[in-house]
Amino acid sequence: MKLGRNVGARPLWAVFLVMAMVMAACTGTTTDTTGGGADTTTDGGEAPATTGGEPSDTTAPPTGGVTNPETFVHAADDEPTSLDPAQVEAGEGGETVILQVYDRLVEFTPDGPDLIPGIATEVPSTDNGGISEDGTVYTFTIREGVVDHEGNPVDATDVKYSWDRALTMDLPESNVGLLADTVASTEAPDASTFVVTLTQPNAAFLNSVVTQSVASIMSEEFVEANGGVEAGTPNEVIATNPVGTGPYVFEAWNRGENMLFTVNESYWGTPANLDLRIEIVPDPDVRVLGVRAGDYDTIETDPSFVGDIEGAEGVTVFQGEFLLEPIHIGFNLNYPVDQLPPEDTVPADFFYDPLIRRAFNHAFDYEAFVNGALGGFGAPTPFYLPQGVLGYSEDLPVYSQDLAMAEQLFRDAGVWDEGFTVSVIAEGGNLFEIAALVLKDSLEGLNPNFTVNVLALAEAQFDEAHASDPVPYALWVKNADPFADPHAFQSEYMDPEGNWGQVHGMANGYQDPETISSMIDEASVITDPAEREAIYHELSAMFYDDPMWIIAGNEVAVMAYRDWVQGFVMNPLWPRPSLKFALFDKG
């Protein structure tokens, strides 16, 4: 006996039908758009979907092609770990939020390294009397009428409080070293005057200290009402509920989802145009799909995804300036041989020999890394002057792959015939691991007696090893911390008496470590940029002959944004992703 055609199936089709009707109905009500933009949108008039399913009564009426017309939506690649300026780590996602919510005394202009007033009414200089003749005292006049997002007035005493707070908390994960290494004392003689005395003249003080997250301003009244200040202890309220004076008011942090901000209508400067939502989207493929769908206005991406975005309707790929975070491979001249991985055969003084360090540099396949891993969006970088900082010049010497030279240097160093095995550590699954693999291919391709073991570690494992002293590995890969001034790069990565100089035992390798150290110190206190540049150029040539790193490449900032975004600008001197959303509009 045959069954009826619809036996047992009607409810199923009914479900499909209802679902289709609901989807169609919701689609019809979710596209909220604004007028204009015909010349800026290349969607051919098709309205992209909104955050989908957003009921019609919560959005603006459809008027022309822009999703979420009242809110700017940015897709970030990671969740912040702290939103407290006194705790945030340099280059970490929390800096993105701090840049929008807080103000500093002075700020970088949107399009370059020049400074403009922030909460201070003008940028101090020797001409306007803001900088003392000996370069050690900086006087800032504080703007009147500034209030934080809770309505608390902010004046010079709050500026002093903010800086002193960071110094008192002295949290190791923060960038407080910038202040601690530079500032001798702070004073607020009256409500509109803030005076900083430096330990010594510092040409980079305004650019590399005052503009940084750690120097952000908050109200004393608010902090004292929310946990106050305790040495060595993070303030959980400020770390998760930032209240500043900036153009955006922090509203909510929905873990794993998004962070919400509204326009600060009481902002002392030009208010933001749109509310802001930062979506937390760790998967890079989903960020790409999101900007193509029109749900995200800007996304953080990297060169390897450009191919997926280019040509997409309504999406612009922006190739900006170089990032200030070159990817480098560190030579460790201070590793304990007995703690190296058992396969390693390198002796304790292996990297003492500059011939070997130069040979490694000549062997590395820079072209493969830049054109492959960075998709062509990168370039070699001189020691240690990334593109964009004072002193960088295309004329400075940079390494390129020269296998014949590498072989000769290895032979001169006496390791060509015997060979070696060395391990290199890197965080797994990213550009750092790829750089390590390029090193492996380069050296093992050069000589079968050379073996490079790439150890791809989880982030926490890498950080633990990386923070050890001595580091129990001979080589590691990471990117540099971003700095706005060349002195920070020199002192952090090249100075034998600096942080990495000591951990890596650079004094064991440099021909003349004292001279290098004194030249770096000298350049840091000279106020004439031309004189400083000359010293950095001289140092760069010395470092080329005596390299302590392989700089695999410096990455160009790549972003993607919807065509309806107006006023898009990116300044690599701002914390990554180097965007101030208050400057943007949509239409």
Binding site: G53, P172, L289, Q461
Partner: protein, 337 residues
């Protein structure tokens, strides 16, 4: 032994089991290394690392660290999640709610579609609809979730613009309270039709992605079971009585065919929970799976330990309840044996 005595005895043993479990969890986690890595930044000096160790009590001897941690678990201080940048205890309920809501939605999709399609195909054995449902179930079992999920996003999010991503619309989310962490329930409690539609709307794609594999299994099970049942003598007897085929199917065949299928459905829920890791990553769903994957990859031991401890204690409690239920329902079970 009386049930009351049995329950009391089990309750007295429970704390010992929980302490034993906590010791195992703590020891096994520490075998993997110190939890300090997640709290470090890249450029810390050894002195700064020592400061961080002191802050989190990691400079203390291991027994002291264990007691601190165990005491914290009892008092509600489950540690600081480096991945979520918040106390574990604060984040956990939200993440758990998100995952449970997704798993239940996927379960509903799987059961509704699986039984429906299985019945449809089984009732039309070896005809076109039967072949189609079999193709459907094979493809569901064969397709990796991550690929299917991305496919759904490309078609329904990017291409057609019909479906959203994430768990909710940000504005609607902010407009209602979230006492349960289950957005659909919260929406009903708040009496907000908009929020309910929004919550369901955001659930559809990830629930389909997560439930597809299970749908396929249930479909296949239901179809096979129905085909077998339709050949039973009591079905022939029902037909011989002159019952319409529709009633024969509904009242006799399908009901009996459901018995083995229900067993499979029960077992499938664990499969759904496993799949949430991938689906939550792809669909930006802020649940336990994504959080745990992050925690494992980044070495966030406070989060991992809290999760393992939570599930272990839950398992112990459920086990206790099940044992007591057995004893209550079936008096032949010898208590305390």
């Amino acid at each position: 032994m009386q049930i009351r005595d049995y329950v009391l005895r089990r309750m007295m043993v429970l704390p010992i089991l929980i302490i034993g479990t906590s010791l195992i969890v703590f020891t096994l986690t520490r075998v993997g290394g110190s939890p300090i890595g997640i709290y470090l930044s890249h450029e810390m000096t050894p002195e700064e690392v020592a400061e961080v160790e002191q802050r989190y009590g990691l400079d203390e001897p291991l027994p002291v660290q264990y007691l601190t941690w165990a005491g914290g678990m009892l008092t509600g201080d489950w540690g600081w999640s480096g991945v979520a940048a918040a106390p574990v205890r604060q984040v956990f309920p939200d993440k758990l709610g998100a995952t449970m809501e997704l798993a239940v939605a996927a379960g509903i999709v799987a059961v509704a579609l699986g039984i429906g399609l299985g019945t449809y195909g089984g009732a039309r054995r070896d005809r076109l609809p039967d072949h189609l449902t079999r193709v459907f179930s094979i493809s569901g079992a064969a397709m990796p979730i991550f690929w299917f999920g991305i496919l759904l996003l490309i078609v329904f999010w990017v291409g057609l613009g019909w479906a959203p991503i994430g768990r909710s619309d940000a504005d609607i989310f902010q407009s209602i309270a979230h006492p349960t962490g289950l957005y659909t329930v919260d929406a009903v409690l708040a009496g907000s039709w908009n929020a309910l539609v929004d919550a369901i709307w955001h659930l559809i794609l990830p629930a389909i992605a997560l439930g597809f594999g299970t749908t396929a299994i249930i479909t296949r099970m239901m179809r096979s079971s129905l085909v077998e049942t339709m050949g039973e003598e009591y079905v022939d007897a029902a037909r011989a009585k002159g019952l319409p085929e529709k009633l024969v199917l509904r009242r006799h065949a399908r009901r009996n065919a459901l018995i083995p299928t229900v067993t499979v459905i029960g077992l499938s829920f664990g499969f759904l929970l496993q799949g949430t890791v991938v689906v939550e990553i792809i669909f930006r769903w802020p649940g336990l799976g994504r959080w745990m994957a992050d925690a494992v990859l980044r070495g966030d031991q406070a989060t991992i330990m809290a999760y393992v401890m939570f599930t272990s204690v839950l398992f112990l409690l459920v086990n206790l309840v099940v044992d007591v239920m057995y004893a209550y329902l079936d008096r032949r079970v010898v208590l305390g044996a």
